[in-house]
Symmetry: C2
Subunit: 555 residues, 2 copies
């Protein structure tokens, strides 16, 4: 008799594990139990289905129940598994269509139970017009109801990547969008300076973004949402999208006595085995090892689910594959902005025991003379002691995805700034500057490590200007055109080209911080002053680009 593989969960990791196992061992009996009425769909594409960018719901379905059947895989839709008996190798559950209970046995079991959205404990969360976006059925509901012209003002609670993707989708449907985030910044996986760039971009696109404002209440009229309240204000809302994050779906695993990890997700080893014999788990319901911090982390992503599903598929069919861990690489698009991250941010790096340094550079998509060039801001983080690259963030209309993929590979190879600084990346004018921005960032990090220059953050500058303005000079070395556009109040402006002849204007007894747009020209100014004998000078990291507040121009 052939062995039997039972898979619980049918969106990403589950179907991948089932298909791979069946390919490796065609004699295996394979059954997928799926609570929802659809299987193997592109969950990450839902915001684009809501916006109408993806025209047909069917396009999101990678494979139907019938297609699985053709490959000899049985899919049981609307079957909710409610109990696992690991000693008896049995599962029990409910057929949601007929209301009948069912029982099944397995030789190998795969848990791919995914995650569920956080539902806030506030009044009004069950009013009509309050939505979530997790499953394809949530998306169906949004598509049905949001097209109504009566829904004009939409509040998105939560400034994470799904919230922002939906901000784009809803805005493209002509809605007036307000984003409400209780933390002091949106996209909390990013450093605050990078998050601010995203926020400013969204504001330019006409969205209202409120940070540091937690949802306190959803108010309604006649059972329908009419506004939301934060600590500070009431915001009109014809609809509310709650996008407060997700949690691993682990009830079934907990009930079965499987070990849960410190993150609350299912514990698995490198082979994706749970603590129970012949029971594997993969996808959003499991935790992984972070390859930089070495810590257990829960970073649910469709890409990870697919890789883990493959490893499980190989292992349940007698092979020997491993999934060593994750780097936390992630990307999302909001309008033309590409927002991407890999590895650790500054705070995470400190928490992991590193002494992080960062370099912020302008990341162009092509040579300076090539038409249509796009720009992202690239921040790369390395450890001061070892020089090891720890992470990166990229934000903008430029090739954020390419930069982050390249640096994720540097992380995977445990490279230091010196190795990264000599990487051999593909160059020709339409594709990159001759020196890739990734290399430029690595060179800046090397210079910082070797104390070639001293630096200061924009936030520190702001503080000093406010508290110790007498002993402190902020020198702006940009061109007139730029200063007319925006200028930091209290700064002294001397264009780089005129620095030497105006050196008398600078008091070398004071601390002098030098800034330009992002830090490259001010670095040159720094070296000129250093050569002239100035001692107490610093280059402003990320320049005016990372200034924490909105600025106006002034000559």
């Amino acid at each position: 008799m052939p062995e039997k593989l039972v898979v619980i969960g049918g969106v990403a990791a589950g179907p991948k594990a089932a298909a791979k196992a069946k390919r490796c061992r065609p004699d295996l009996e394979v059954v997928i139990y799926q609570e929802e009425g659809a299987v193997s769909y592109g969950g990450c594409g839902l915001p684009y289905y809501v916006s109408g960018k993806i025209k047909e719901r069917n396009q999101l379905l990678a494979r139907t129940k019938e297609q699985f059947a053709q490959d000899g895989i049985q899919v049981k839709l609307k079957h909710r598994v409610e109990e696992i008996k690991v000693k008896e190798k049995k599962i029990k559950g409910l057929n949601l269509e007929t209301g009948d209970q069912f029982v099944d046995t397995y030789d190998k079991l795969v848990l791919a139970t995914g995650s569920f959205p956080i539902r806030p404990q506030v009044a009004g969360a069950d009013l009509k017009g309050v939505f979530y976006l997790r499953s394809i059925f949530d998306a169906d509901l949004l598509v049905q109801q949001l097209f109504s012209a009566q829904i004009q003002n939409v509040v998105i609670v939560g400034g994470g990547y799904i919230g922002l993707e939906m901000a784009e989708s809803l805005s493209e449907l002509g809605k007036k969008v307000t984003i409400v985030e209780k933390m002091p910044q949106i996209v909390t996986l990013f450093d605050q300076d990078m998050a601010r760039l995203v926020q400013r971009y969204l504001e330019k696109k006409g969205m209202q973004v409120l940070v540091g404002e937690g949802l306190q209440e959803i108010r309604g009229e006649q059972g329908r949402v009419s506004s939301i309240r934060t600590a500070n204000q009431e915001i009109r809302a014809d609809a509310v999208l709650l996008s407060l994050g997700i949690r691993p779906r682990v009830e079934l695993a907990r009930q079965a006595g499987l070990r849960l990890g410190e993150t609350g997700a299912i514990w698995v080893n490198e082979r994706m085995e749970t603590s129970a014999e012949d029971v594997f788990a993969a996808g959003d319901c499991v935790e992984s090892t972070h390859l930089i911090s070495g810590k257990r982390v829960w970073i649910p992503l469709g890409s990870t689910a697919n890789k883990q599903g493959r490893v499980v598929g190989i292992n349940v069919s007698g092979g020997a594959a491993v999934f060593p861990g994750v780097l936390g690489t992630a990307i999302f698009k909001v309008f033309d902005f590409k927002v991407a991250k890999t590895g650790l941010n500054m705070r995470e790096a400190e928490q992991a025991g590193f002494s992080p340094l960062s370099a912020i550079v302008r990341g162009y998509s092509g040579a300076h003379y090539y038409p249509g060039m796009k720009e992202s801001v690239l921040k790369v983080i390395a450890d001061q002691k070892s020089g090891r690259i720890l992470g990166a963030q990229a934000v903008g209309e430029g090739p954020s995805d390419k930069f982050i993929d390249v640096i994720s590979m540097a992380l995977l190879g445990r490279m230091d700034c010196s190795t990264l600084g000599n990487a051999d990346l593909a160059y020709s004018p339409p594709f990159s500057p001759a020196l890739s921005p990734v290399l430029v960032a690595a060179h800046v990090l090397q210079n910082k490590r070797e104390k070639v220059f001293e630096w200061i953050t924009a936030d520190e500058v702001k503080n000093k200007l406010e508290r110790a303005a007498d002993e402190f000079v902020l020198l702006d070395v940009r061109e007139e055109k730029e200063v007319k556009e925006k200028r930091i109040p209290g700064s002294l402006w001397i264009p780089l080209g005129q620095l030497e002849e105006n050196i008398g204007k600078l008091d070398n007894k004071k601390e002098i911080a030098i800034h330009c747009h992002s830090g490259a020209r001010s670095y040159k100014g720094y070296l000129k002053l250093k050569h002239k004998g100035f001692k107490n000078i610093k280059n402003v990291d990320g320049g005016i680009l990372c200034w924490p507040e909105e600025l106006k121009g002034a000559l």
Copy 2:
């Protein structure tokens, strides 16, 4: 007295070394000698200046002589250095404007003498209307003369990347372009299967591409080119662009007694020091170490020149930087096709003593359901024994640049297929399929290494069909629509979904090769047949995509 740095050569590596050295040691006296009348220009952008895509010549100039002067760097234009006396630390040369000789001394010397185009030894090479494209002055000449409506037919001799970039430029100027290449394929750094994809694309774009046809003679009328002759034919030509490759410019180094390497370029160590004390060299005139083969190679590129210039700048000013070597990463664009490579191709891998395996996959730019997705064909090469990744090639309208950059980082990190197969790359639907094509290729390579399946190349299939058709079956498992478009003559067509019910049509005593578009579906068919007990079966690498000839549809 401050030390004096003399740099010979002012396009890429030279100015970079000078600028970096001056930044590191502002007290250094720095002089750049440049034979041409322009300095620090974007040589790689010349084809786009010729096409008019870059509107202003000035845009190509990164920095002028005056800008260098502002930073305290003296540029001597139209000064040709003709002799170096390394013992006396002296140089001698000619001021091309005045005709006067000059002499200078140095403490450190940098040779950045670049390269020159190969001039063929054929009759007619000095006729009017015969062009090269190496310097900005060559480009000026082309811009002046090519706009004439009398120049209709242009023959480009040489199918390398500059030849193909110029094919685009000239085609955009309305010229009828013929490319003539003496080797059996264009872009000889690529494997033949990939080169064929580029050739077919160029032909679709209306260009005539002749391979295996060497230039034998350029013919003229009244001193002006009128045609070229190959062994097989005469081709009408109102202008000829000779793009036969370049050679390192090493005369000065040879005369000075510097060691030349086995490639003919200047030998340098990791610090970019030549064999003479205090003499450094960088850019197109030096050879490097290939980080995969370990061999000395000469791969002249603007990106390499910049990195080497930086290392020299640090070292001449007392620092300690190294340039470990190159991976041969390169990219060019021809119309919307992005053609990129890193590491070794199949032939190079064999020559370096590896046992190369390859995987060819379709490299999509986004999730299958995301609109506007573009596709490149991605070929990744690994060593059968160690599993180490050796190289990759990508060709198409998709993100070839990103794929190649990611794999170049895998090469830099000396990764194997198993590590690459679990890389954590940035995924969301607009940017990548959930499983990046890079990972899919790594998985195919792992399967090949583990003998999960047997394979055969398209060229071998063609041979067998011609020679041993009786014992050999080529099974096509694609859909009807695809077969109507193109079909390999002599193939047996059974769509994958109908394979099981039609299994009786297959004779399991014969050798059966299975193909689809690129190899993914035929792999599934392979596993089905294997499960049914077929022994002598093979999957066709790269499918019909890599078929060596043009095909027609037939049901």
